[in-house]
């Protein structure tokens, strides 16, 4: 364990350092590690903020109060549903980080299925497992002041939020399509040039168009952008001859629980059920 807070140099007493906490619920820890990945800025961050709770970085613990609390992970168990309420009360600002905390994560696929059946299929003794039927974003339980999307989040966007917090302004987190960044960086469109499916046109930017720039389609981990025409894109795929099952699966990823992706998944599932695989296979 590295205690980043302890490593920071002595500061003039006059400067108030906001008390920052980083906590997690149902998630993989990858988003919190993005904070540690801010290698060039890490010292400045610890000088500007007092990190009082961050299990991945320091064994000093705190249960609050926090000026700013970064929350990773979805609310997936009854205990988490209680704890997030206490944490909200202990925090002046609450920022959720990552697809799990902002959208419910990949585990929200269970929201569309039979929770008990999943439990019975996975665990020999499902009665010992206490989990909620849904995996939901933190914002379904408490008020959230800002959301950082993505699986994982983008270090640049995290730094932007920290800068905004430090300077007292609203963070600039664009809500446009991934395509704009893809074109700005000069990547060739994988849809047009390779015929690959890509959710970039309906997905919120922030990743720097990482996947398309490496020749694969966007899988929507930042979730839907503003006015995302997911139905239009799904219709286009169907017109092009793709099967409803595969179209639905494209939207059933890390942000499946977010509208309008969720509606597309449900609609494609219904279409698939109505027509069966035979018609699709015949295409």
């Amino acid at each position: 364990m590295v205690d980043v807070a302890a490593r920071s140099p002595a500061r003039p007493a006059a400067v108030h350092r906001p008390r920052v906490g980083v906590v997690k619920f149902a998630s993989c820890d990858g988003c919190q590690l993005t904070l540690l990945d801010l290698e060039d800025e890490l010292l400045a961050v610890t000088e500007r903020f007092e990190i009082v709770e961050f299990a991945e970085a320091t064994s000093n613990r705190s249960s609050g109060p926090f000026d700013v609390l970064f929350v990773e992970g979805s609310i997936s168990t009854p205990e988490q549903a209680e704890e997030i309420v206490h944490l909200r009360e202990a925090s002046t600002l609450l920022v959720t980080i990552g697809a799990c905390a902002t959208a419910g994560g990949i585990q929200a696929l269970r929201n569309l299925g039979d929770h008990d059946a999943f439990r019975a299929a996975v665990y020999p003794h499902p009665e010992y497992v206490s989990s909620l039927a849904t995996s939901l974003p933190v914002s379904e339980y408490v008020k959230v002041d800002a959301e950082l999307r993505g699986c994982p989040i983008d270090p640049g966007q995290l730094l932007e939020v920290l800068t905004a917090l430090a300077t007292g302004r609203r963070p600039q987190l664009p809500n446009e399509a991934v395509c704009l960044e893809c074109k700005r960086r000069g990547a060739v469109c994988v849809v047009v040039a390779k015929g690959l499916p890509c959710l970039g046109p309906v997905t919120r930017t922030g990743c720097g168009a990482l996947c398309p720039a490496f020749g694969r389609g966007c899988y929507g981990c930042f979730g839907p952008r503003e006015s995302a025409n997911a139905a239009g894109l799904a219709s286009h795929y169907l017109r092009a001859g793709d099967r409803a099952e595969e179209v639905g699966r494209r939207f059933a990823g890390f942000t499946v629980n977010q509208e309008p992706f969720r509606s597309v998944v449900v609609a494609m599932d219904r279409l698939h059920g109505a027509h069966g695989t035979r018609e699709g296979d015949a295409r």
Partner: protein
């Protein structure tokens, strides 16, 4: 740069295929970085090329709406592939450009393989970005640094329609060197002294008759292959007139508003400026990036969005490109390269959409299937605009100063006007700022914040007053400034109120809430020479009594009697003894002397539209009703594209307009 006529036969030369590297070397020896076509990631893109080995020799390309594929070819042709996804604006107008060091950035470039449509695109962006009144200095430097080596198109993609737009396939101007590729080499002609110097160094033989004929045949075949897919006669007028077409909503079901069309378009020029700083707000830097009228934020202002729906954004794009571009820059904004068709991820074909939204008269549709010569794309001036919006901008003074630099000003005092509105008194001795006319505005910059346009609410001998409502993050921060704070302002910008139009006439001023701020300098101007104007009435509405601005001043004016002041509020408690109701109720035939009056209006657009109706009933002609409009603004001088309203840039052509100029633009939703 411009070759008016084809060069004499003696100057048409031939470059054997084996010598193509000599041309690339000559460009490099000229100190230029050569940019040209090369294969990457399944497409022919533009990038740095160092030799023939980098060119797409042996590759062919095909396109269709929403599709583009490369294939191998049996010959060794290097340029037989028309246009790919990249356009040359990536170098003349880069996707990201730091604001601080923009002008120095000129490395000498050579563009190798520029098509006729792409030359037209460069010339189109020249008109936009350096055709005035404001000039993008960064673009000018980069553009001047680039030598244009054109290539005649020996093939056309299915998505090409340069013939319809009158931009190709023949390269006729705007090049330094032009190549026509034949099987065994290139017919070469120079189009400028710079091009001639390079070609001269290669010491090439004259092209023989067979080579010249083959070159001409190449172009003839390309033209025939493209045909004339888009009848453009009268297109500009037709598309502007189609603002309420139901087709826009239908397109919006397919359109993803992903902005790909605008980013591959070689003429689209819209940008935004973003600011970054370190954790303490220091070292703030700004960067200009490509933006698009398809994003939600593009037309957003604090508190609202002028184009919230995809149908609004698609209409803006297509109408600007083919219609109002003529009003703004004197040409079509489309060069017919077809990139927006091929690189639309869902394959929307603007050729088809144009014909559906703005179909040509029946007699013209015959042209679709023919290979008739391209009709002139210039619209008939008498029909170019929506007839109901016919009057040209009147002669009231436009901004003469186009400052592109910020001036630091000091806040000398602050005054809270209402719960959310503050006036900042600023000290400056900048002559341009002190010459600010009523109704003009300034862009206000603070490190790490967006840069909002703010109307000047009073001009003093030694400074300005800005009255700012906390509507978004940037304006909220401004209202929190204290005495002694320093901020940067750029201006004055835009066309203000036409004070002279009121001389000798009765005046009605109608406004609501914060709308009084940009009108106060107008009232100051009237009071300064009170005897030149007739009766002056001010009708002022606010949500509640506490939302009224400048209350003491208005009370003083009302007592003084030089201006008749009437106020109303939407709702009030017992303490309010004045009128309750909307501001239009204050205006009636008694309030103005009909045709002899002139009216000045500022408020939310719905309020201004309602006021316009009442003023019309009073008999005031639309030429003498002036309104001021709010739009998203970034540059303030007509270069960033955000504030477009039909045929106007609100920042440059307005923000003050007469109703006659605006025509229906004030009332079309989402324009």
């Amino acid at each position: 740069m411009i070759a008016a006529a084809p060069p004499p036969v003696s100057e048409v030369r031939f470059l054997p295929r084996a010598d193509l590297d000599r041309l690339i070397d000559a460009l490099a020896d000229d100190g230029r970085t050569v940019i040209g076509p090369t294969v990457a990631d399944g497409a022919i893109v533009l990038d740095e090329v160092r030799s023939v080995a980098d060119l797409p020799v042996g590759w062919a390309a095909e396109s269709k709406p929403g599709g583009y594929r490369l294939s191998r070819r049996s010959d060794a042709r290097a340029f037989d592939h028309a246009v790919g996804p990249t356009s040359w604006k990536r170098w003349t107008f880069p996707p990201r450009a730091p604001m601080a060091s923009r002008v120095e950035a000129a490395q000498s470039l050579a563009f190798l393989g520029v098509r006729a449509c792409e030359i037209a695109a460069l010339l189109t962006q020249d008109r936009v970005l350096q055709g005035g009144p404001a000039v993008d200095a960064d673009y000018r430097v980069r553009r001047a640094s680039a030598l244009v080596v054109a290539v005649e198109c020996a093939t056309a993609l299915e998505t090409c329609f340069c013939t319809s737009m009158g931009t190709g396939p023949e390269v006729t101007s705007g090049y330094d060197i032009a190549l026509t590729e034949l099987d065994d080499g290139f017919v070469v002609r120079a189009g400028s002294p710079a091009g001639e110097a390079i070609v001269g160094r290669l010491d090439l033989p004259q092209a023989n008759v067979g080579q010249r004929v083959a070159a001409a045949d190449t172009l003839r075949r390309t033209r025939e292959r493209i045909g004339n897919p888009v009848p453009t006669e009268g297109l500009a007028a037709r598309i502007v007139a189609a603002a309420e077409s139901p087709r826009w909503a239908e397109i919006a079901e397919r359109c993803l508003a992903c902005a790909n069309c605008t980013l591959v378009c070689p003429t689209c020029f819209c940008t935004s400026v973003g600011t970054k700083s370190d954790l303490d707000g220091g070292n703030a830097t700004s960067e200009r990036t490509w933006d698009s009228c398809f994003t939600f934020d593009f037309a957003r202002v604090a508190g609202g969005n002028f184009r919230p729906r995809t149908r609004d954004r698609y209409r803006q794009w297509l109408t600007h490109k083919f219609g109002t571009w003529w009003d703004h820059f004197g040409s079509s904004g489309c060069v017919g390269c077809g990139r927006c068709i091929a690189w639309c991820p869902v394959g929307i074909d603007i050729r088809a959409e144009l014909m559906a939204v703005a179909p040509p008269p029946l007699s013209e549709t015959v042209l679709v299937a023919s290979v008739a010569p391209a009709p002139s794309t210039a619209p008939d001036p008498s029909t170019a605009l929506d007839p109901s919006a016919a009057p040209a901008p009147s002669a009231f003074p436009a901004s003469e100063t186009l400052p592109e630099r910020y001036v630091d000003v000091v806040v000398t005092s602050t005054r809270r006007e209402t719960a959310d509105t503050v006036s900042l008194r600023l000290a400056t001795d900048d002559p341009a700022l002190l010459a600010c006319r009523p109704g003009q505005f300034v862009m206000v910059a603070r490190p790490a914040f967006a840069t909002p346009p703010i109307s000047v609410s009073r001009v003093h001998q030694d400074g300005l007053t800005l009255t700012i409502r906390a509507a978004g993050p940037a304006t909220t921060a401004l209202t929190r400034l204290e005495r002694g704070a320093v901020m940067s302002v750029r201006g004055p910008l835009g066309r203000g109120w036409p004070v002279e139009a009121a001389v000798g006439r009765d005046v009605v001023v109608v406004t609501g809430g914060i709308g009084l701020a940009p009108l106060r300098p107008l009232l100051d101007a009237f009071l300064a020479e009170r005897e030149r104007f007739g009766r002056i009435r001010l009708a002022y509405g606010a949500r509640t009594p506490a939302d009224r601005l400048f209350v003491d001043e208005l009370d003083a004016l009302a007592r003084d009697g030089r201006i008749e002041v009437e106020s109303t509020v939407d709702r009030a408690g017992q303490e309010w003894l004045g009128r309750v109701g909307v501001v239009t109720q204050l205006i009636d035939a008694d309030a103005c002397s009909g045709r002899e009056s002139v009216a000045f209006v500022c408020g939310p657009e719905r309020m201004m539209a309602a006021t316009a109706d009442v003023l019309a009933e009073c008999g005031i002609p639309p030429e003498r009703v002036f309104v001021t409009l709010e739009r998203h603004m970034e540059c303030g001088v007509g270069l960033c594209g955000h504030c477009q309203l039909g045929r106007f840039f609100v920042c440059r052509d307005g923000p003050v307009f007469s109703l006659a100029e605006l025509g229906p633009a004030l009332r079309v939703e989402g324009l």
